[in-house]
């Protein structure tokens, strides 16, 4: 499925340079601080022609800062970036682009109403036309992308959008490609396809920096790996010979957080949530199609599937925010916790403080307020207790929640939602984008509450996570449940097929 790594070891003749495996990018001693926080501390990094280098690190390890320095968005406090031996002027995005450095951002930054070609040429001098379209098609074919140059961007799948974002860089002749967590939004087959393309591009002489959280992906596609921890480079070596455990130890600093052991089985009790033939429509599209689901106390039901197949509707239906248009939802839980996929958009108020966000479910309780008065010290003491219990990375409970990192936000949400000892917990993509330590905390919290007797629904694209946590697994495809498995009869390959809509007939 994945491109063989043999080609990488053989160091093929790169296309763009005459010398084999010449150094194209040399980063020396980059240091960058924001206030007291040192985001990058004397970071060195070397990239050779035709090389795929993984940049690995937890949230807040300094990956994004380093990338911003490389592409000229940030001016480092110290250190130099040189492309083919020539130093880049610091803090100049234009110079970085002119030197051949291009970034594919997580959100792609495309214009939905423009066609593939228009998106590709946007920002260059040309503006469509048949010749340009042909040229775009050639670039796409060379990279192995199957993109219709005339298709509007809104009609593309996530995987195709990503190809388009990469194509934009190729069309400009950029040959140092930085992919910022490209697999976060992809299904496993789409990721495999991306890895194929990356290998093809590298074999063609381009160099790639690949940012990820997933150790397996580093092993699958990268030649070299640079691991950052607290802004410092803690490892810079060949991937061959490293295994996932070693990398994870380097990344988080001890083997304490090495992959959690598979959780024990649950002890299912009475049914707390029951969906019967539930159908939900949104914007004229049938988001959920006659879904049946039963969640018992003391069990974790995992919902596997590639995002966009009804997960969001299922989560909001299960949490009781939307009602079914047909069918029914029965819930006997007195408190329902919801960990939404869109943490900031659905769960938090960015402009309010950490302490206020932690109080969102409790501020009207008599213990915390009177109609004319909120006891703010009680709000603060609740916040301090939860900050401590969930290791929320914040010193002052009054600081704005929007200033937290992804892992910090998720800890705030978990703390708030789980503090009431809910009977039903709906967690959507609960570890997406989180670092290893935060992910481990999320998982152990979910398992802990299950053991306490809560019914838990985990909706996730990460199949490993689903298989590790769940007592039962449902597969969601195009809004319908296309498979159900119990612990002990999980078949990874079959679930993977069904996630992709195969094997259903």
């Amino acid at each position: 499925m994945l491109t063989s790594r043999a080609t990488a070891g053989a160091a093929p003749e790169p296309g763009a340079t005459s010398e084999p495996a010449a150094t194209v990018l040399e980063v020396r001693g980059i240091t960058k601080s924001f206030g007291d926080r040192v985001a990058n501390d004397h970071v060195d990094l070397t990239l050779k022609a035709g090389e795929i280098r993984a940049l690995l690190g937890e949230n807040g390890a300094g990956k994004t800062t380093l990338i911003s320095v490389l592409c000229g968005q940030y001016r480092p406090d110290a250190g130099t970036v040189a492309v083919r031996g020539r130093p880049l002027p610091p803090g100049s995005p234009r110079a970085a682009l002119a030197a051949g450095i291009g970034v594919v951002h997580q959100d792609f930054r495309l214009v939905p109403r423009f066609t593939v070609t228009e998106n590709v040429v946007l920002g260059t001098d040309s503006w469509g036309g048949r010749k340009v379209e042909q040229k775009v098609a050639e670039h796409a074919a060379a990279a192995g992308f199957q993109l219709d140059p005339g298709a509007p961007a809104w009609s593309l799948s996530v995987g195709e959008l990503q190809q388009l974002a990469i194509l934009k860089l190729l069309y400009r002749g950029l040959d140092i490609l930085i992919l910022d967590e490209p697999t976060a939004v992809l299904s496993p087959p789409q990721a495999a396809e991306l890895f194929n393309s990356m290998r093809k591009l590298a074999d063609g002489g381009r160099s790639i920096i690949f940012i990820t959280h997933r150790l397996r992906e580093v092993i699958a596609v990268a030649d070299e790996v640079t691991i950052l921890r607290h802004g410092k480079v803690v490892a810079d070596r060949e991937v061959a010979g490293l295994d996932a455990l070693q990398m994870s130890v380097l990344m988080i600093g001890s083997d304490a957080a090495a992959r959690h052991t598979a959780s024990r089985a649950g002890n299912p009790g009475e049914v707390v949530l029951k969906l019967e033939s539930a159908t939900v429509e949104g914007r004229g599209v049938r988001a959920l199609d006659r879904v049946g689901l039963e969640v018992r106390r003391g069990e974790i039901v995992g919902v596997a599937g590639i995002s966009g197949n009804g997960q969001n509707a299922l989560a909001e239906l299960a949490a009781g925010i939307v009602r079914p248009m047909a069918g029914s939802r029965t819930c006997i839980a007195s408190a329902v916790a919801y960990i939404p996929e869109a943490r900031m958009e659905r769960g938090l108020v960015g402009a309010m403080s950490v302490s206020e966000n932690l109080s969102l479910r409790q501020y009207r309780r008599p213990t915390m307020s009177h109609p004319l008065w909120i006891w703010s010290h009680r709000m603060t003491s609740l916040a301090r207790r939860l900050i401590e219990a969930f290791s929320i990375p914040v010193k002052n409970p009054d600081s704005r929640v929007a200033d937290l990192s992804g892992g910090g936000l998720q800890r705030v949400l978990l703390a708030r939602e789980l503090d009431e000892q809910p009977d039903l917990i709906i967690a959507a993509q609960p570890t997406r984008g989180l670092d290893v330590a935060s992910s481990a905390m999320v998982r152990s919290q979910l398992v802990g509450h299950r053991d306490r007797g809560a019914g838990v629904v985990v909706i996730s694209e990460d199949l490993d996570e689903i298989l590790e946590l769940s007592d039962r697994v449902l597969v969601l495809f195009k809004g319908a449940v296309v498979g159900e498995y119990s612990r002990g009869s999980f078949d990874r390959a079959e679930i993977g097929l069904r996630m992709g809509g195969e094997g259903t007939d």
């Binding site: 763009a16 924001f34 206030g35 940030y74 001016r75 492309v83 083919r84 020539r86 880049l88 002027p89 610091p90 803090g91 100049s92 110079a95 682009l97 002119a98 030197a99 051949g100 260059t124 001098d125 400009r172 002749g173 950029l174 040959d175 949490a319 925010i321 919801y338 939404p340 869109a342 900031m344 958009e345 659905r346 769960g347 938090l348 108020v349 960015g350 402009a351 309010m352 206020e356 969102l360 479910r361 501020y363 009207r364 307020s369 109609p371 004319l372 008065w373 909120i374 703010s376 200033d403």
Partner: protein, 366 residues
């Protein structure tokens, strides 16, 4: 040799900068204004001296500033209150005028009311009228999402025309010879002054309203829920809060505060309904709320400083400086303040690149 300028976001500007930047902005505004004064043939130092004397530098000046601050505190509060739920009330002007109009109606026609009740009845009428005016915008906003900025803005013109209709027609003072004002109100309709001064008690009412609004929004559970709804509607929806209901209540409250400003200006200053009862107080309220960064208690400070500026520019005119020039100086200081506020959010780097880099190889398109 090329110089490149680079902006970077600054998260928390240090306290010293938050004081120094506005101070520098005022100085910059005064310097720029001085150039204009000098061009107009005035001595800037003399001019600024009289400005100071007329606003903060004398007891009369301070009293005039306090009187001017009263409607500005209230219109600023009207805007800042609506902002708590994420709405922009640009209709303070109209709500103020409709409030003054309703209060005038009560003052002119409720003659059977016992004396001590006249003033409270007028003020209540002003608040209710302002609240009603804002609610006209709030209901379509809450139900179908019709933009409240547009509706509140257009309601301003309707309020002005309605007032004009009344003061030129049914309520016109027969002794005014066609000037745009109503009959004078009875003596019982005059706000008392603070003993020992000629400042009416409106400023005290305004400060009390400010503290009450702050308490309501920042210290009660209901205010908390309003801030949640204003901060993130989708989170509020998840928590089961009725956003529409809160929008209507908050905007009505906001309108009531602006209406109160109208009733107070009427009973404290003009004593009759007249064109120019509002000197753009409603619009200045938007600016004041902005300068106060939407903070309810900050509005009191911002409105007072704004009032000193306005009163100072009046004083400038008494020394022979033309009104447009006085207004330009006032505007310059505010523009510099706003620019300074925006600049605070960024860190500026200036670098000299030793040599411009040639485009790299590999067929780069420029």
């Amino acid at each position: 040799m090329s110089v490149s300028i680079h902006l970077e976001r600054r998260l928390n500007p240090p306290l010293a900068m938050r004081i120094a930047v506005p101070a520098a902005a005022v100085v910059a505004g005064l310097v720029a204004g001085g150039v204009i004064l000098a061009l107009g043939g005035h001595d800037p130092i003399d001019a600024y001296n009289s400005m100071w004397e007329g606003s903060l530098g004398s007891s009369d000046g301070i009293q005039a500033s306090l009187i001017k601050a009263c409607p500005l505190v209230l219109t600023g509060l009207a805007v800042a209150t609506a902002l708590r739920i994420g709405l922009w009330n640009i209709g303070g002007e109209g709500q103020l005028i409709i409030g003054a109009t309703a209060a005038t109606g009560v003052g002119l026609y409720a003659t059977s009311l016992p004396g001590p009740l006249v003033l409270p009845a007028m003020i209540l009428a002003g608040c209710l009228a302002g609240a009603t005016w804002a609610t006209i915008a709030a209901i379509p906003r809450a139900l179908i999402g019709l933009n409240e900025i547009i509706v509140t803005l257009f309601l301003n013109y309707i309020a002005i025309l309605l007032m004009d209709h009344l003061i030129f027609g049914p309520w016109a003072d027969p002794k005014a010879f066609g000037f745009a004002y109503s009959r004078a109100l009875p003596d019982a309709a005059m706000l008392p002054v603070i003993p020992g001064s000629y400042v009416h008690v409106g400023i005290v009412i305004a400060v009390v309203v400010a503290v009450t609004c702050w308490w309501l929004m920042e210290r009660t559970p209901w205010g908390f829920s309003v801030r949640v709804a204003g901060g993130n509607a989708r989170t509020a929806e998840y928590l089961g809060l009725h956003i529409s209901r809160r929008m209507v209540i908050v905007l009505a409250l906001s309108g009531a505060i602006a209406g109160l400003a109208g009733a107070i200006e009427l009973t404290g200053v003009t004593n009759r309904l007249q064109d120019g009862i509002s000197v753009n107080y409603g619009y200045s309220g938007v600016l004041i709320a902005f300068l106060a960064r939407g903070r309810l208690l900050g509005v009191v400070v911002a409105a007072f400083l704004f009032a000193t500026l306005v009163v100072g520019s009046y004083a400038l005119q008494t020394t022979g400086v033309a009104q447009p020039i006085a207004t330009i100086i006032e505007a310059l200081i505010i523009v510099f303040l706003l620019a300074g506020d925006a600049a605070l959010a960024f860190r500026v780097h200036m670098t000299r690149a030793p040599h411009a880099l040639e485009p790299a190889t590999a067929g780069v398109r420029s």
